[in-house]
């Protein structure tokens, strides 16, 4: 029993370095096809010719492509992603500064999405074909069809400008800037650690709106997957057994049917979390959320290529990590593959 399972695990583990290598190669190649001369971006286009040549030599740009890639890899292993022209910090420092805000946003969003999406999906499956099922189908399809920036803008219009119940863009009120020391980088957590309740409530209030907008898309996905899994499971003979035992409908649905899809849902949850990174880019741009997504789009507009590639690589690696996590969780938690 254990051998095939170990083999599958080993195969998964072996594929990771190869995929990772591919990821790095693709970002490297994207960086090299760009028409902007990286030397001019550094020294400015009025620099004398010998300075340009000097820098070109230092960057290894005279070498053939595979040597350049080797240099890039070597730097990467040392944690060197180059320097951002825009912020004049190293890209690694920038990422360390901006990434926690994105994680905070994505985590809040996945929590909201799971709390809403999973029960909705269960409800739709249990009431298959009913009016409520159709309503849920339209709601989730809308989630697949609405551009996230449109929802974000409408949300700002309704909750911030018209109803005035949500704070505006940004991560916190500027009055509270730098009031709590950075420990985890998650403002809600750091303010709790510091015991600053006012800062905490402010951070939470700022978080709810962008997280809610971002959550809608994962919610739609989770609800659809939950519905499909539940429909499949509710057809099972063991559901009839559970009913024949005289169990309450709630217990049949949650303990027996849902219990059977819980592991698969954890996998889906990890995939949805990875997918949130994509939505975060746009959400952060609209809500001026100082995370990796906003960093990426601002770098894009300034043609700050080191920053763009560094952020892309980090997002790619995170995405890969979550996919791997999903795979591992499935193998560990399901008694059938154990």
């Amino acid at each position: 029993m254990a051998t095939p399972r170990l083999k599958a695990l080993a195969a998964t583990a072996a594929s990771v370095p190869i995929t990772l290598f591919g990821l790095v190669l693709v970002t490297f190649l994207i960086g090299r096809v760009m028409p902007i001369d990286p030397v001019l971006a550094i020294v400015g286009d009025r620099a004398p010719a010998d300075v340009v040549a000097q820098v070109r030599l230092e960057l290894g740009l005279d070498e053939p492509l595979y040597v350049q890639f080797w240099i890039y890899l070597g730097k990467l292993v040392q944690g060197d992603l180059g320097r951002s022209v825009m912020t004049s910090h190293t890209v690694v420092d920038d990422i360390i500064r901006f990434f926690p805000a994105t994680m905070e946003l994505a985590t809040a969003a996945i929590i909201i999405a799971a709390l809403l999406g999973i029960p909705i999906g269960v409800l739709a499956a249990v009431k298959q074909g009913s009016r409520i099922d159709h309503v849920i189908r339209v709601i989730t399809l809308a989630g697949h069809s609405l551009p996230i920036f449109v929802l974000a803008l409408i949300s700002l219009l309704v909750f911030y400008a018209t109803l005035e119940i949500a704070p505006g863009p940004g991560r916190q009120n500027i009055l509270f800037d730098d009031m709590v020391p950075t420990i985890t980088g998650l403002l809600t957590v750091d303010s709790l650690i510091a015991g600053e309740w006012e800062v905490f409530w402010d951070a939470l209030a700022h978080l709810v709106q962008p997280a809610g907008v971002l959550a809608y898309f994962s919610m739609a996905y989770l609800a659809r997957m939950t519905r499909a899994f539940m429909l499949d499971t509710l057809k099972g003979e063991f559901i009839i057994t559970a009913r024949a035992k005289g169990l309450s409908p709630a217990r049949v649905i949650w303990k027996h049917a849902f219990g059977n899809i819980a592991v698969r849902l954890i996998t889906i949850l990890a995939l949805a979390y990875a997918g949130l990174l994509e939505g975060a880019v746009i959400t952060e741009t609209v809500f001026s959320w100082p995370g990796l997504g906003q960093y990426l789009t601002i770098s894009l507009l300034n043609a700050d290529m080191n920053a763009v590639l560094g952020a892309t690589l980090v997002v790619g690696v995170t995405y890969l990590a979550f996919n791997l996590l999903a795979d591992l969780l499935y193998r560990l938690l399901d008694p059938r593959v154990r």
């Binding site: 099972g236 063991f238 057994t241 035992k245 005289g246 169990l247 219990g259 059977n260 592991v263 008694p335």
Partner: protein, 275 residues
């Protein structure tokens, strides 16, 4: 305990109108061992499951009477039905591979049945479950209690299923082809076990099968179903005097050890049976 079914019909809506699965079945079952025999699609399982109202949602059920111990199953609310299901009547299905919950241990599934109908605590339920597993003649009940269904053989799984359904001491057990998915050697064992448990507890048994001699061996009375109707109902002992063509056909299709036959008969179906 008695069951009264009068003129039961079960329809399913399809794209081309409705398909009639059960077409006017009547039977009365007391505290006895009652067999329902028929080929697949004859409506025998649907008839038995209608007693517990465990039919698919799309089924359209009509009957002049459908009662369990005087309780009108057609009109009883869901909580009244739950008081019958499990507590007063259990259901055993064909293949434990599908009818046991794959992500719950055997023990947990039996404990759940115990706790659904008694005030037993967690530990008490656990003891009862192990005791039940011993009663269905499992040698190592503690190990089996901690096993997941996919770790058990078909025969073991079916014993777990029986233990689970016996947990609240029901008055009736419906066994829907309980041995069809099992190896031939295990079949007899399971049936004998079922027979012993039912007899010693004084329970009623409804045994559904496509195997006429087997049913008549274990049951007092037998109803033969064909195409959604009961074509003949008779005492198991009177099987030799069966009148209906289909019943006779079923009997004649079988090989015997006492008489030599070169070729088994093929059932000649009379369209009149459908009328």
């Amino acid at each position: 305990m008695d069951i009264n079914i009068q003129n039961l019909t079960i329809d399913f809506p399809t794209a081309q109108g409705t398909s009639q699965a059960v077409r006017g079945v009547s039977m009365k079952i007391g505290r006895e061992k009652f067999g329902i025999v028929g080929e697949s699609g004859s409506g025998k399982s649907l008839t038995a499951r209608s007693i517990l109202r465990l039919l698919p949602d799309s089924a359209i059920v009509r009957a002049d009477a459908l009662t369990f111990d005087g309780i009108d199953v057609m009109r009883a609310d869901e909580s009244a039905m739950r008081a019958i299901r499990g507590r007063r009547a259990g259901l055993i299905m064909q293949d434990p591979k599908f009818s046991l919950n794959p992500v719950m241990t055997a023990g947990a599934q039996i404990e759940e049945a115990v706790r659904a109908h008694t005030k037993a605590g967690r530990r008490e339920a656990r003891e009862k479950a192990i005791d039940l597993l011993a009663q269905v003649q499992i040698r190592d009940p503690r190990r089996v209690a901690d096993a997941y269904p996919h770790e058990l053989s078909g025969g073991m799984g079916q014993r777990v299923m029986i233990a689970m359904m016996l947990a609240p001491d029901p008055e009736l057990l419906i066994a829907d082809e309980p041995t069809s998915a099992l190896d031939a050697t295990v079949q007899a064992e399971i049936l004998r076990l079922l027979d012993n448990l039912v007899s010693s507890r004084g329970m009623a048994l409804v045994l559904i099968s496509h195997d006429l001699p087997l049913v008549s061996h274990f049951c007092d009375r037998v109803a033969v179903m064909y195409a959604g109707r009961v074509v003949e109902e008779l005492k198991a002992a009177d099987l030799a005097h069966a009148k209906h063509g289909y019943t006779r056909g079923l009997l004649e299709c079988l090989p015997t050890l006492s008489q030599e036959k070169r070729r088994l008969n093929v059932m000649a179906r009379d369209p009149a049976w459908l009328a």
